[in-house]
């Protein structure tokens, strides 16, 4: 089950905790992977760890020309892109009364507009080959909201609506478009929380612990697989029961 041998995957934000785990998991199932992100040294390190069937292409998701180049270079490196995992994302948290236009725009630009651009660029080859898996990493807050994250929640909710639209446009060409929505995951980002903050958060998680990046990656592997061919336009929530939607 879930054999990805012969498949080519492009993972954005692969220098991060969740993106790295996704790239490792896809690679482990046999896929060739292209690691993208802004931190070239971290990407090269991961490539070294993976060994064969791994490529690095650094790119910025707030730059339209860079996004087109990323897709072209990934197709050149791997021959095709079968699986696109849009994981790159940033936060610029602030209460709305204090949120600056640039904080709003930057988060929408990277998390939503960049994802749309890269997906649009990848569709052409997927349509031609009559196979595609687009997996957008959204967030629990895109569904529940979160104070201080109006920009991030809007972008992540936007990804869900966008994915449903693309799923309907592309289903007849055997291309699926789905989202994975992590809850609170143990990454370098959540390491900085104090014990008190962690206790407060865990009080809202029935599972009583943070999730792991590998648990997110497992959901991505499933949606990328041939076995998930009939799953499209869906959001897979992986959150320890924190929200049941």
């Amino acid at each position: 089950m879930f054999d990805l041998s012969g498949k080519a995957a492009l993972v954005t934000g692969a220098s991060g905790g969740i993106g790295g785990a996704i790239a490792r998991a896809l690679h482990k199932q046999g896929a060739t992977v292209t690691l993208s992100g802004t931190r070239a040294d971290a990407l090269e390190k991961l490539k070294g760890e993976l060994g064969e069937r791994a490529h690095v292409i650094a790119a910025r998701m707030d730059d339209a020309a860079d996004i087109d180049r990323l897709l072209k270079d990934a197709e050149a490196a791997m021959g095709k892109v079968d699986i696109l995992v849009n994981n790159a994302g940033i936060t610029r948290d602030n209460i709305s009364m204090r949120m600056k236009d640039e904080e709003w725009e930057k988060v929408l630009q990277v998390n939503l507009t960049g994802t749309f651009r890269l997906t649009r660029a990848a569709m052409r080859g997927m349509m031609r080959r009559r196979f595609g898996r687009v997996i957008n990493i959204t967030s629990i807050v895109g569904v529940t909201g979160n104070p201080g994250q109006a920009n991030y929640a809007a972008a992540k909710a936007g990804l869900i609506g966008m994915s449903k639209s693309l799923a309907q446009e592309l289903a007849s060409r055997a291309i699926t478009v789905n989202c994975v929505a992590p809850g609170i995951i143990a990454t370098p980002m959540t390491d900085v929380l104090t014990d008190e903050q962690k206790t407060g958060i865990l009080g809202r998680v029935p599972a009583g612990r943070l999730g792991t990046p590998d648990e997110i990656a497992a959901g991505v592997v499933y949606l990328a697989s041939d076995e998930a061919a009939y799953v499209t336009g869906q959001t897979l929530h992986i959150n320890g029961g924190m929200a049941m939607i």
Binding site: R124, M127, R128, E169, L170, S172, R173
Partner: protein, 79 residues
Amino acid sequence: MSDIAERVKKIVVEHLGVEAAQVKEDAKFIDDLGADSLDTVELVMAFEEEFGIEIPDDAAEKIQTVGDAIGFIKSNAKS
């Protein structure tokens, strides 16, 4: 140059699964040949490959009939 017309018609027949006799120059892809909007995108991609040209989005939107496609390719194809 009629060769171009024949190649275009062949692509349309293969892609849309219609009879060659239906593929007249004034036939509209969507209204007459049963194409959906995604089919028209794929036809444009197929023309680009067959003739080694690039059809920009604004030009692609104007290609609504078989004759439109033949006309565009005749004035832009290298071979």
